[in-house]
Symmetry: C2
Subunit: 222 residues, 2 copies
Amino acid sequence: MRPHLTPPITDGEARTTPLAIAQVLRARIIGGNYAPGEQLVEDRLAKHFGVSRIPVREALRMLEAEGFVELVPYRGAFVAEVDRDSADHTLEIRAGLEPIAARRAAIFRSEDDLEVLRDAQARGDHATAREQYELLPSLNSVFHSALWSASANNELKNLLDQLKFKIAWVYSLNVRKNAKESWQEHKRILDAVEAGDDIAAEQAMRDHIDAAIEIHRRYPRR
Amino acid sequence: MRPHLTPPITDGEARTTPLAIAQVLRARIIGGNYAPGEQLVEDRLAKHFGVSRIPVREALRMLEAEGFVELVPYRGAFVAEVDRDSADHTLEIRAGLEPIAARRAAIFRSEDDLEVLRDAQARGDHATAREQYELLPSLNSVFHSALWSASANNELKNLLDQLKFKIAWVYSLNVRKNAKESWQEHKRILDAVEAGDDIAAEQAMRDHIDAAIEIHRRYPRR
DNA sequence: CAAGGACAATTCGTATACAATCTTGTAACA
DNA sequence: TGTTACAAGATTGTATACGAATTGTCCTTG
């Protein structure tokens, strides 16, 4: 399967070529390999990945929808600029949506959801206690993703899944310093979700996001 | 410009062919011309629009990002199903975002923004008083769009602009009965935005959206 | 008669080729 | 010197053609 280009596209397992290309490009944009505003020339990318321009174009369309590139007709694709303001704006959107997810999760969570949340929480605590900070970003991602799934609102989950990459981009440089507080906040959210207390879950998540934004404001990356 | 296909694509002015096709398809999906779950065969659409499959594919990618179609690799594009739940879920997302926009609008609105808002409000009141209900949906859209612009959060505006179509889809059948109350609520929002009272604006918008959801729940479309 | 496999038909995936458009540099002109 | 016109180069837009995956059908086989 995927006849022409298995070698260059290193991504683990993407069902289609455009998806694989999009993942690589997204990771590079988040990782800062491309300068903001830089043009992504289709032909160059196509040669780089060893494919034709068609799948590259589709990948760029996906990244456009996620806000990582801007597509200008007859001009090309340009890496989006993430200035201080647009970072704030993205976090503000997150602040509007995550509390809703938490509230719903407290109502609709299944036993399986709780399982995953408890597990992520335990691993997070563990890693924090041992100061294995490099593990935290992915554990954090697991915790939040599990909450979105538990919210039983698929549109919301999809939206937050998309935002996730952008938030990762925003946060990319300053990994949150106060890991311990962060996982204490998670604990509070988890407790509320377990108890089925939707109001408390919403409030706990609101506090959690606000704290993250506060930290982000205090230690600006650029 | 747009060499090959000016006649079939009736859209007003879209800069590129895929955009024009996407607009037509979106309108048809919202308008109920395609059954939910129905497959949109690229070849058929291409012939219908008098273009090749390439621009059709790009249009479908856009609609996928907006949640109107589902793209399955090697199977095709299918019109999304909007059941009762997913409609609720979309409205819930809106309920999370619009109050933020209103709060920010109260802080950042320019004199031009206020101009547009006052104008929309006046026209809405006028149309309501004369019972010209057919004018209300577009005026309502103008009012809300102006608020999003005034919020000075471009990411939020883009997101709400996308959601707009889906919300239109959700509401498509039952135009809100109580137009008068709706525009009284707008008035309250506008007053708060004019006064620069961000807390009041946020609360007024929250009430407005909640009322809309309540109506929607009371008069289900399917 | 049910289960499994070969095959055909349909549809998507993408490589190639060429047309349309935009940008930039240059030269003629006021 | 500043401005416009134009041509060349680069890049995107899309039509065509063919390869690949999926699905359904019909045949075989136990």
